[in-house]
């Protein structure tokens, strides 16, 4: 549960994502989930820390404005 609403949150490009799962343990608030071969970002849990972005081997994750 986050206390501060972030300006930006992570978003995944499902056409690029290989479902390797590398990003999951990197996420401090555990906002990333991989189920039924689909990666999702929990919008209300993501704190915008960006720890998942650079390590993705294929660059499937990016930051977008939390609107």
């Amino acid at each position: 549960m986050r206390r501060v609403t972030p300006a930006e949150i992570a978003v995944v490009d499902l056409a690029v994502c290989d479902r390797c799962g590398l990003c999951l343990p990197l996420c401090p608030p555990e906002a990333l989930h991989l189920e039924l071969n689909i990666l999702t970002v929990d919008r209300e849990t993501c704190t915008g820390c960006e720890k998942c972005i650079a390590p993705c081997p294929v660059g499937a994750l990016d930051m977008v404005a939390y609107a």
Binding site: C20, P25, P28, E35, A54
Partner: protein, 391 residues
């Protein structure tokens, strides 16, 4: 709502060995092995290299269809492409992981464990009846499995550990982002594995060529994202392959994460143990995890069987698993982690110099131990590294 004794989640090397050993140790128990993918061993997210001695504790590679190539040489490449050959007897093997994982699952099935593919665990909770209630989805249908002991062998994502309240997080500096091609039509020594270091090639990790056959190899790299220039692992791989093997055909492709962290502080709780990649048991220096996964799987399976027979699957009873692991491999693990940290501070100039030093040792005398000893004399900055490794 099936009731069972041991539920193993993940049919990779850790899970398959856990299920196999649990059922073999206590045949009267119900042991189920779950695999979310439609097949065991696929997709392959692995460079498929394994050491000879560790492998032989669990399976015999000679003539096996799951052993793609026997390796008898190790060739290090310095950042400037200087080659350093090291010859050791019985180095290891490059596996066909799809066949190998299937072989291990078959061992589990042969002793009576139930293997379910296309079956994904999606949640887990305790319900006051002394069992874990695991929500499982198979062919679109949800079911609850009630298990006395759950063994989480679910790899880098480590969801079982997360559901059980264990800390499965990985610091960014301890995650190797990896990409690999299976290349056809390349020229390399088919009995050797190659490892290349270099800040512009694979910062914080290394690139590898692991032959699967003559002219075919797993060609990949792992790097630490914090140390890159902003490109991702696949982009680094494309650049390296374009330089070394511009004409090669790409017959396969995979990406994934290799956790190069020390073992999770607590790999167990009431009715739960986690093993293999999920418990951060990969060798932090080499990135190799198959043997450690099987050893941990064996410990977890045996601990589960004994605990259920004794009627006690509590946190305190299962701590025996963690202690057995730490006694078997935990100290070495810490030493490798410290060595990895020390090596991070050494730059390309150092590795190029080291390669030239080692190449002055006659080939026949170039064991890894001798290399290290010679390197210490010529490169005193390695001494603190060696001290931390050997202390």
């Amino acid at each position: 709502m099936p009731d069972l004794d041991v539920l193993v989640i993940g049919a990779g090397p850790a899970g398959a060995v856990a299920a196999w050993q649990a059922k073999q140790a206590a045949p009267e128990l119900d042991v189920v092995l779950l695999e979310r993918d439609p097949a065991v061993g696929s997709p392959v997210r692995c460079a498929e290299g394994v050491g000879d001695a560790g492998l032989r504790e669990f399976a015999t590679p000679d003539g096996a269809d799951w052993a793609a190539r026997k390796i008898t040489r190790v060739i290090f490449l310095a950042p400037d492409d200087t080659e350093v050959k090291v010859t050791e007897r019985d180095v290891g093997w490059v596996l066909d992981r799809t066949r190998f994982d299937a072989h291990l699952a078959a061992q589990a099935a042969a002793v009576g464990a139930e293997v379910l593919v296309g079956t994904e665990a999606t949640a887990m909770s305790r319900n006051g009846d002394g069992r874990w209630h695991v929500r499982v989805k198979q062919r679109g249908v949800d079911e609850i499995y009630r298990a006395r002991v759950v063994i989480g062998a679910d790899g880098v994502e480590a969801m079982v550990g997360r559901w059980a309240g264990l800390d499965t997080r990985v610091p960014s500096r301890d995650m190797e982002s990896c990409a690999q091609y299976v290349l056809q039509g390349i020229a390399c020594d088919p009995d050797a594995i190659y490892l290349q270091f270099g800040d512009t090639i694979a910062p914080g990790g290394y690139a590898w060529i692991f032959p699967k056959g003559v002219g075919v190899a797993n060609v990949g790299l792992g790097l630490v994202a914090l140390k890159t220039d902003g490109r991702n692992a696949r982009q680094y791989l494309d650049a390296w392959v374009a330089r070394r093997y511009p004409g090669a055909a790409r017959a396969g492709y995979t990406v994934g994460g290799v956790i190069v962290h020390t073992t999770i502080k607590k790999t167990y709780t009431d009715g739960v143990m986690i093993a293999g990649d999920a418990a951060h048991m990969i060798n932090p220096l080499s990135g190799g995890g198959i043997v450690n996964a099987m050893k941990a799987g064996r410990l977890a399976g045996c601990t589960a069987a004994a605990a259920i027979r004794a009627g006690d699957t509590s946190d305190r009873r299962l701590s025996a698993y963690h202690h057995a692991w730490m006694e078997l491999l935990g100290d070495d693990h810490l030493k490798y982690y410290r060595l990895k940290q020390a090596l991070e501070n050494l730059d390309d100039a150092f590795f190029n110099g080291l390669a030239r030093t080692v190449n002055r040792i006659p080939q026949g005398k170039r064991s890894l131990g001798r290399i290290f000893a010679h390197a210490l004399i010529k490169h005193p900055q390695l001494i603190p590294v060696a001290a931390r490794f050997f202390v």
